[in-house]
Amino acid sequence: MSAPSSVLVVGASAAGLSVAEHLRHRGFEGDLTVLGAEPTAPYDRPPLSKQVLAGAWEAERARLRDEVRLSELDASFVLGDPAVGLDAAGREVWTASGRRFGADAVVVATGVRHRALPGQDELAGAHVLRTLGDSLALRADLLGASRSVVVGEGVLGAEVAATARAMGVDVTMVGPQPAPMAAQVGPLVSARLAELHASRGVSLRLGVGVRELVGDAGRVVGVGLDSGEVLDTDAVLVAVGAVPNTGWLAGSGLELADGVVCDSRCRAADGIYAVGDVARWWHDDFGRLMRLENRTNATQQALTVAGNVLGEDHAFTPVPYFWTDQHDVKIQMHGVLAAGAAVSVVDGSLDEDRFVARYERDGRVIGVLGWNMPKQSGLRRKEIVAPLSDPAGPLETRK
């Protein structure tokens, strides 16, 4: 398609805002509209489980851009009015308040929402963490709590457990995996994470599922485990994964399956693109659909999407990357972790509390993880790039 004269971005967080910026950087001078479900100016989410939750940053510091930079974008921001429908063929979007917006190109950047446990919405003191408001509400409850439970042993649960502990609150982390982030980083590093959290006073009750939240007079007072045990608590964070915000796209004509299904150009239909946590696009080098819920992907994918909106034709083939800060440890993970990958320490050592671990499968490097070695792990990223771009074909179908 030729370059559009108007672009509508649905979603005003990191991915949506980045698309808008890249469009302008690349010389797009047409009408640019950004719709946001939340009333707040665009803000960044990684600090919500760390600096903002800890109170080290004022909420203002998590803003993605100040007013001057937002106005320099020369975009029309429509905030606090969620999109509720899309006509893909007509490239028209309508919102909760009944406004309708049409454009030559539409970019879907509506992100994900966190899963809650049954009955959670009716219980004070039981939280999810996705928005700035969520972070401030959880912080307020933690400040008044002596005991807390984090349900979920993934990245978010582990980060919040560390932050809450640093706030002086007793924390118990529960979840079905044997160790924190076991699915993301494998046994060697997750065992190391378990040691880290335990050494800082986080109680780990892992390898057991959660059955229910226990309430009393409308307030959460306990977390019931599958073992029958109930952990008494004053506050709970539920971090058991997220689901793409695609409900508003039902009947739109787009294919929805764990996200907005896109081709390798992040294109969901003619003139319709998806970006960020909500996008499930075809990764040419892996040879499969992929959806990444991480901050780095939001801005990298935005760069490709903005170019493709303007008539370029680039496949999006990133090396997946995420980082997490827990207690005083910085972890960087490049690539992917396949079940059964062989893991070896290639820089530093476990004893020094600084190391780079390399993940290999079938003799190929598929991931690199840095533990307190951000620069060194980044330098080894190229060991993943070569096998990914192998002319022998997509990684996941290669023998």
Binding site: D44, P46, Q300, W323, K330, Q332, P374, K375, G378
Partner: protein, 66 residues
């Protein structure tokens, strides 16, 4: 173009080093950004701009006026 970096915000992702290796580096000990060239020449400005806009921690600020 004038570049400033916020060391406290930096998460050590190294995206800037991949994008603009002549402008940014990282400290060996903790991965925090090191600014090699705060006023890059015309040939480096496009990559510096991309590094700033793709920094996942919003730790790089550009001023085009200086």
């Amino acid at each position: 173009m004038k570049i400033t970096v916020d060391e406290e915000k930096c998460c050590g992702a190294g995206t800037c080093v991949l994008t603009a290796p002549d402008v940014f580096d990282q400290r060996d000990e903790d991965g925090v950004v090191v600014l090699l060239d705060e006023s890059p020449g015309a040939d480096l400005q496009a990559s510096a701009r991309e590094a700033a806009s793709t920094c996942p921690a919003q730790a790089i600020l550009l001023s085009e006026r200086a």
